[in-house]
């Protein structure tokens, strides 16, 4: 079965009817990789690429609201540095033209670069159901385990909302400049009021935030000593593994390096008011 609805309402009805038996398909850049590798992949698809207004990104009250079908090529043009840089390193042009933000969130890989960037700016995820309507989940409650999320099998990810005015920084460590899966990636966001979010990919079963490191910055600001303490804390908070891409100890060390580097970067271009301990 392959369904290709034009309206979001039709797609939600199909999802409510078939649940986990039908796989929502955005650009296919995750799902078709699985199909190419094994014969036991999904057989039934709900193609979301023809839905009206599903790929649009609009500004609303100081926020961006991206439809689930917004591609990395579109996100790469936004002026939210961590997200646009994450989008531009997620793959080559052909991947960026196909891959969508709902797909990145739906796959919920611990290496999901887009997820890390959104985690650092307190994004909200809009999940919709044909009859129960919409619910909005803060992104820090969305990832519930390794490739597990708060999305129920009869819902679709319809939109993602995130602030347009946070200052952000991003760095991805991988083996090449692009088209690579991260070894470690880090996004740090700072709200106009100075709240800091420190997010990592590839160092735990889900993308994650280093909450204790954030608390250190919230308490002591962006002085060298507190940045160093936050970096030390981040290294303790992450739970990386050894795999074919890298070792746990290297990943852990890089979490410290990236925390230090990106916090300094944010401090450097911070307006005087933010980062109180300058």
């Amino acid at each position: 079965m392959f369904l290709q609805p034009r309206q979001v309402a039709e797609a939600l009805e199909a999802r409510a009817k078939y649940g986990a038996e039908i796989t929502p398909l955005g650009g296919g850049t995750d799902i078709v990789v699985v199909l190419n590798r094994q014969s036991t992949g999904p057989r039934h698809f709900l193609d979301l690429s023809r839905l009206e207004n599903y790929a649009a990104i609009r500004r609303e009250n100081g926020c961006y609201v991206a439809g689930g079908g917004a591609t990395f090529a579109q996100l790469g043009r936004l002026e939210v540095k961590a997200l646009s840089q994450a989008a531009m390193t997620v793959g080559g042009a052909a991947i960026r033209n196909a891959g969508t933000i709902a797909g990145n969130l739906g796959t919920a890989s611990p290496a999901g670069d887009g997820c890390v960037a959104l985690l650092a700016i307190d994004a909200d995820i809009e999940l919709s159901h044909a009859t129960r309507g919409r619910r909005v989940i803060p992104i820090h409650e969305y990832f519930t385990g390794f490739r597990r999320t708060a999305l129920v099998a009869d819902e679709l990810i319809t939109a993602v909302r995130f602030p347009a005015d946070w200052r952000t920084a991003w760095y991805k460590i991988g083996k090449r400049g692009s088209i690579n899966i991260s070894i470690v990636c880090c996004a740090i966001g700072m709200s106009p009021r100075g709240n800091v979010r420190i997010a990592f990919g590839c160092v735990a079963p889900t993308v994650m935030r280093a909450r204790q490191a954030e608390a250190i910055i919230a308490k002591d600001g962006l002085a060298d000593a507190s940045i160093e303490a936050a970096a030390q804390s981040a290294m303790k908070e992450v739970a990386p593994i050894d795999d074919h891409r890298s070792s746990a100890s290297y990943r852990r060390a890089m979490c410290g390096v990236l925390t230090r580097r990106l916090l300094r970067e944010l401090r450097q271009d911070a307006p005087r008011a933010a980062g109180r301990a300058e």
Binding site: F2, R6, A14, A93, A94, I95, A98, S178, I179
Partner: protein
């Protein structure tokens, strides 16, 4: 919206030619082009979007045909390497790849040329950064990139 039947009636165009075919929902565009249409210029290699050798152009944008399911191509306009030359007259990109010695084993070449065409169709005068952003999804394992970049840059000067 389609019915629950297992096959899909695909209608699209490939290199300007209208195509109607019955496809499986999980059949990829790459193997449809190669095995059903006999357009073997498009190459499959990694089958996971890492190498770019299967790059085709769909409605003006580069896509990895190995990661596209055929029904997703309903109503779409697909360009492959076979559509570039006009009879015996090579497309400027093909011409420049030859002149610069930008192909060695040649396996990556169709994908590189299609990625370059998508880039230049959208942006005939790319900056260095835009150039690399457009081409970074394509890997060559034998020629080295200097000759490839030279070929594409010399095509830029004749791009219409």
């Amino acid at each position: 919206m389609a019915t629950d039947s297992t096959t899909w009636q695909l209608r699209c165009t490939v290199n300007g030619r209208p195509i109607e075919a019955e496809v499986e929902p999980d059949e990829t565009l790459l193997f449809f082009l190669r095995d059903k249409l006999g357009l073997t210029g498009t190459k499959g290699s990694c089958l996971e979007g890492e190498c770019g050798s299967c790059t085709v152009i769909v409605d003006g944008r580069a896509l990895n045909s190995c990661l596209v399911l055929c029904p997703q191509m309903q109503g779409r306009r697909i360009e492959t390497i076979e559509g570039l030359a006009n009879g015996d007259k090579l497309h400027v990109l093909q011409d420049k790849f030859l002149a610069s010695g930008a192909a060695q084993c040649g396996y990556c070449t169709p994908g590189l040329i299609m990625a370059a065409k998508a880039l230049l169709d959208q942006n005939p005068n790319p900056t260095e950064q835009e150039f690399f952003e457009g081409m970074e999804g394509n890997i060559c394992r034998c020629t080295g990139y200097a000759a490839i970049c030279e070929a594409i840059r010399s095509a830029v000067q004749q791009w219409k």
